[in-house]
Symmetry: C2
Subunit: 311 residues, 2 copies
């Protein structure tokens, strides 16, 4: 197949085309990933997340520029909420209007929540594989928001970079509680603002309280807009990969990521089976109506549908 050869040769257009195909759940693209799966696993995959207003995209851009100075090939997947009002992903269009998008050594793609359940995670992970085969040394997955599904997407990375900022308001404790455990490296961005050292200290204290960890994640202070602390942060990210490569930790990590990915693929498949069955005989519609009218409870409904899809 021509696309296969072009992807392995590092053809950017072929890469873009295949990622679009994966987004559309195209069978040919999935077959190609299956065939070339042995060519994956070389890239260092970095997930970036944190609360809204944290400056994730600016920080990602600076990290990428630093890697470009080293001659590395980089991919960025920005996971954005999509608005049905505008029909597109607002954020992606807004943030990436910079010189990175003109750099032939950088591949950038925004992915929106397309509405189909479980689909975004599948598309993101497919895109990571294609970028890996394409030859990226580093792949960034950047998500907006602090919700569980964003966390699920980001934790499929080798290294999770958690971005915090000083003075996030009342909910900072809650944000920390929800995301603290998934960070491998922490960055307090906008460290030129008042309270940055205090925030960094608080995070350190919380991390040190956790005796289950065999490695306490570093907490770095950076100011992405002024390009301050970027090199040091990048060194910590690379350092985390070195750490993983000791004592088979990288394999363990990737095993647990594979586990999550497989479960996600299974859920998506079951869902598509149900929807297909509904299209032919309306089983889900009928049963949902009964539940809404209180003629059947949802637990019985679940059993009936599992019987009906006849997996």
């Amino acid at each position: 197949m021509e696309l296969e050869k072009r992807l392995l040769d590092g053809d950017k257009r072929a890469c873009a085309r295949l990622i679009s195909m994966v987004e559309n759940n195209n069978k040919e693209a999935i077959s190609l990933i299956k065939k070339l799966y042995k060519h994956t696993g070389n890239a260092h995959v970095i997930g970036i997340t944190g609360p809204p207003g944290g400056g994730k995209s600016t920080l990602t851009d600076k990290l990428v520029k630093s890697l470009r100075d080293e001659g590395k090939k980089v991919g960025i997947i920005a996971v954005d909420p999509t608005s049905p009002f505008t029909g597109g992903s607002i954020l992606g269009d807004r943030i990436r209007m910079n010189d990175l998008s003109l750099d032939p050594g950088v591949f950038i793609r925004s992915m929106g929540t397309r509405g189909h359940l479980g689909g975004l995670s599948k598309a993101t992970q497919g895109a990571v594989k294609i970028l890996d085969i394409y030859g990226c040394d580093y792949i960034f997955i950047e998500t907006v928001g602090v919700g569980q599904s964003e966390v699920d997407i980001v934790r499929t990375a080798d290294t999770v970079l958690m971005i915090m900022v000083p003075g996030l308001g009342d909910d900072i404790q809650a944000i920390k509680a929800g995301t603290m455990e998934i960070g491998d490296v922490f960055a307090v961005n906008k460290s030129d603002l008042f309270g940055a050292s205090k925030t960094a200290r608080e995070i350190k204290t919380m991390l040190e309280m956790n005796h289950n960890m065999d490695r306490i994640p570093p907490v770095m202070q950076v100011t992405a807009l002024k390009n301050e602390g970027i090199k040091e942060l990048l060194n910590e990210i690379k350092g985390h990969m070195e750490y993983l490569k000791e004592n088979d930790r990288l394999n363990k990590r990737r095993e647990s990521n594979a586990r999550a990915e497989i479960i996600n693929l299974i859920e998506e498949e079951i869902l598509s089976l149900i929807l297909r069955k509904n299209e032919s005989v309306g089983v889900l519609d009928d049963i949902s109506q009964k539940v809404a009218l209180r003629n059947m409870d949802p637990y019985t409904a679940k059993d009936e549908i599992l019987r009906a899809i006849d997996l």
Copy 2:
């Protein structure tokens, strides 16, 4: 069964006990919901969400107090991220130390993300049903964060109240894009702050641009801390229920919510089947290892496991 009678009689302790049982996925509690499901559907279920720092819990408390003045019976489920560091849900303990928790006409429960996939949504929806049988006139589901799974939980409500605040920073556009379409009523909280009217106007403009809606959601300005605008907001929330009751809209809404709930229950069941199979023969562990080592691709892994669980 004694618990059944006590719940139907409006016994608060029985209610609390049953919600804990549902959280622990207790079969007896599920059976009881199945049996008493016909007693649900009477409460007006209100989902409250919005970005961190929006003052959701304060606003919820004021709305609840206003309903209590009318003599209504109210339930609150606060969905919190749980930290493995502290072992409990930080937010729930922090915010509810007020007079509401002493009011016999108010039932408050915090629910944390317990770690098992899909479980939080199931527990929340089970708790809503119990509060409904218990006799609540209004049930609030309050979530922190703007992520997809929080949105999924909140949209199971009859009415979704979206909270915004002035000056949320750069990511406000993204937040709006991701959550705009699920709000039935909008509140700009902290409206004593600079920029509140502008934020309200922006939201109105975005909502009016959406020609798909047969009803443009109201945008209210409130200051929860000063108890300003609460009555008016509550009227809009009640107005939304009146709107739903016209032309069979409430049934349609509940049908689509039932649909989402059933799908969630199915996903959870499939997952528990896989995990049970893994416990006996390690099928998921083995296959994840192969995928991590690039000896099998995740799509083939999915097919193998679906064959192995033999649904």
